[in-house]
């Protein structure tokens, strides 16, 4: 019986809203815009954050990436005759790391050079990566065709290579790259496999981001990676990369451009990083290397996202607040207009809470309707953004539920005061009104 009364009162409220359609619509607009902006902004933010986290995750959350960098003091050119500058990571470093740190699962040495490669009469600038067969264990590359490098390739210094999918079209045009020969420097390499670095969340327009070996986005000039065995690399390019600075007869020698270290768990990453740093410091006189810890980047990205969400949330909260105040204003006017009606209802037996429920349900229905429309619009906008601006967006179920709940809460919060005003009117005064 109690529920029946509430149901009837709610129906009464709905009828009243319907009779003043225009006014109801305009009143609910505040909530519509508030909810719509919450959802769209959160979706855009979530999309950007996930893309960033994806890219970082592709570097491997259990990985520590070491890069050789030219020491700062030596960056300016000097003219002191012949000078050969050796710097960077060495094979001994990898041995030491592998042997002294028990947390370490894999150590992947890499040689990198930007080089032109030829297929028949087509030339393409690629990054040649000389590395070991267990490169796959540490980096998230997916084999599309054929195989990756094998230990036998390493042992016999076979001139085989594995190419990035994204450079196939530019180098091979319509030919199938498998089992063809490409020329790198002065030697021919036989294609045994095709890989891609696209993760499960490739960007929305379908192309996979182009990655250099360390996972960062490739800058212009390089079409993709070609992987060859480290031993073959040594025989083609020598034990060390030597670069002559034009006109000064100075050379730079680097043994390994990059080393990726994978540890056994994410908990071990930071401790291992500290050990590696002290290990390298002991054997390197200058700061000729750089350590990148993807896990830290991930955490940083998560922190950034939290700040972003708080800012967005505040903006949305303010807009919803303003919408709520507008609703309260209109409901107060509505109560004023219907003073006589309230008096009549009280005179024939309506209790105070009957009146409260009547007006409160009107307000809550308004805000919930506004919330639903806001959710519909708010889901449309990220879709349009992704379609026309190629920015990834992600609409989370949480944001939808949250928005719906908040619009209901706003209805109760801002509808309570007008409803109570109505309920506490004196019946006799109200009957005399107007």
């Amino acid at each position: 019986m109690f529920w029946f009364r509430i149901k009837r009162t709610v129906k009464l409220g709905a009828k009243s809203l319907w009779m003043h359609r225009l006014r109801s619509t305009l009143t609910a607009l505040g909530v519509v815009f508030g909810v719509c902006s919450v959802i769209s902004m959160l979706a855009i933010g979530e999309g950007a954050s996930r893309e960033a986290q994806d890219q970082i995750a592709r570097l491997g959350s259990r990985n520590i990436i070491l890069k050789s960098v030219k020491p700062v003091e030596e960056r300016t050119a000097t003219t002191e005759g012949d000078m050969v500058l050796s710097y960077g990571l060495t094979y001994s470093d990898t041995e030491r790391i592998r042997e002294t740190i028990p947390l370490v699962e894999q150590v992947i040495p890499k040689r990198l050079v930007t080089q032109d490669t030829w297929y028949r009469n087509r030339r393409l600038t690629v990054q040649v990566v000389g590395t070991v067969p267990w490169y796959q264990k540490v980096h998230p590359i997916r084999l599309l065709q054929g195989r990756f490098l094998s230990p036998l390739d390493m042992e016999y210094q076979q001139k085989v290579c594995v190419v990035d999918e994204q450079l196939i079209e530019q180098l091979f045009v319509v030919d199938d790259p498998m089992y063809k020969d490409i020329k790198i420097k002065d030697a021919y390499y036989y294609v045994v496999g095709v890989v891609t670095t696209a993760g499960p969340m490739a960007s929305m327009d379908g192309s996979s981001a182009s990655h250099t070996s360390s996972g960062a986005k490739a800058t212009g000039g390089v079409a993709g990676n070609v992987y060859i065995p480290l031993t073959a690399y040594k025989s083609s390019f020598g034990e060390m990369t030597v670069q002559y600075t034009g006109g000064t007869r100075q050379a730079e020698k680097v043994e390994l451009e990059e080393v990726t270290v994978m540890v056994d768990s994410t908990a071990s990453v930071l401790p291992a990083r500290d050990v590696i740093e002290s290990l390298l410091n002991r054997f390197h006189k200058k700061k000729d290397y750089q350590i990148v810890v993807p896990l830290e980047l991930l955490r940083q990205a998560a922190r950034t996202k939290r700040i972003f969400s708080v800012v967005l949330g505040s903006i949305a909260a303010i807009s919803l607040l303003v919408g709520g105040i507008g609703i309260m204003n209109i409901m107060l006017a509505s109560v004023s207009e219907r003073t006589r009606e309230i008096g009549i209802r009280r005179a024939v037996g309506a209790r105070r809470y009957d009146i409260i429920i009547q007006f409160l349900s009107e307000t809550v229905m308004l805000t919930l309707a506004g919330g639903v429309i806001g959710i519909a619009l708010g889901s449309l906008i990220p879709y349009l953004v992704t379609r026309f601006f190629q920015m990834p967006t992600v609409i989370t179920g949480t944001s939808l539920l949250l928005s719906f709940g908040i619009s209901g809460a706003i209805g109760v919060a801002f509808g309570m005061y007008p409803a109570c005003r109505a309920a506490y009117l004196d019946p006799i005064e109200s009957l005399r009104h107007e």
């Binding site: 019986m1 109690f2 029946f4 009364r5 009837r8 009243s16 009779m19 006589r340 009606e341 008096g343 009549i344 209802r345 009280r346 005179a347 024939v348 037996g349 309506a350 209790r351 105070r352 009957d354 019946p427 006799i428 009957l431």
Partner: protein, 230 residues
């Protein structure tokens, strides 16, 4: 046991620095089935008395027994319930809800007592038939004449089968013909056993009552008893 017993009823309005006593120590007893008229000049307190009888207001001091229940100091929820279940009220300006039609207006008191849609709809139709409005069930008040609106008001007042029916100048806004129609309906209700308490200026109305209570300055000036005609 009288249906209405008032003992030493007082109502005083407190307006800032001034106290305004409107009703002073009234004692009245009304038996079930009586037809009472309350008359008096403006400011004599008749409307105030009716509002107290109708539980729309609370007395400052004194007792008001409706049946065997002292309703003088009940709280708002309890008073609302009594208004809904025990009392029927008709007003000079009808006080119908303009956005609802005849049937819906009659149903309102039943709605607040939790009566089902089916039952309240049936009873509303019966009551509408009793006041002669069966052919206008879906009309809104704006589409009805004053007399018809007052008839809807009477039907609404009877919806929950009240103990007493109160009227505040029910014929005040009506022409003489419509006014007489309303008084005929009230007579009929009285014959069926309803207790009527009507505040009025109109001599014609008071002629139909059994007892006329004359108020002056918040006190009973005199009480007229009449022979029951018919």
């Amino acid at each position: 046991m009288s249906i209405v017993t008032i003992e030493k009823l007082c109502k005083t309005y407190y307006l800032g620095s001034m106290d305004l006593p409107v009703l002073r120590e009234l004692d009245i007893q009304i038996e079930a089935g009586e037809y009472i008229a309350i008359m008096g000049p403006s400011g004599s307190g008749k409307s105030t008395l009716l509002n107290l009888l109708g539980c729309l207001d609370r007395p400052t001091t004194g007792c008001y027994y409706l049946g065997d229940q002292d309703v003088a100091q009940l709280d708002d929820n309890q008073l609302s319930a009594i208004r809904g279940k025990r009392i029927g009220f008709i007003f000079q300006s009808y006080n119908l809800i303009t956005q609802l039609n005849v049937i819906e207006n009659i149903q309102i008191p039943m709605f607040y007592q939790g009566t089902s849609e089916k039952d309240s709809s049936l009873r509303a139709q019966e009551l509408a038939a009793m006041v002669g409005l069966s052919d206008r069930l879906n009309h809104r008040p704006a589409e009805l004449s004053g007399g018809q609106q007052q008839r809807v008001a009477i039907a609404r007042a009877l919806a929950n089968d009240p103990l007493i029916l109160l009227g505040d100048e029910p014929t005040g806004n009506l022409d003489s013909k419509s006014g007489l129609e309303i008084l005929d309906i009230l007579d009929k209700l009285h014959q069926q056993g309803m207790t009527l308490i009507i505040v009025t200026h109109d001599e014609f109305v008071s002629k139909r009552a059994q007892r006329v209570i004359h108020l002056l300055d918040g006190r009973i000036e005199r009480i007229e008893k009449k022979e029951i005609k018919k």
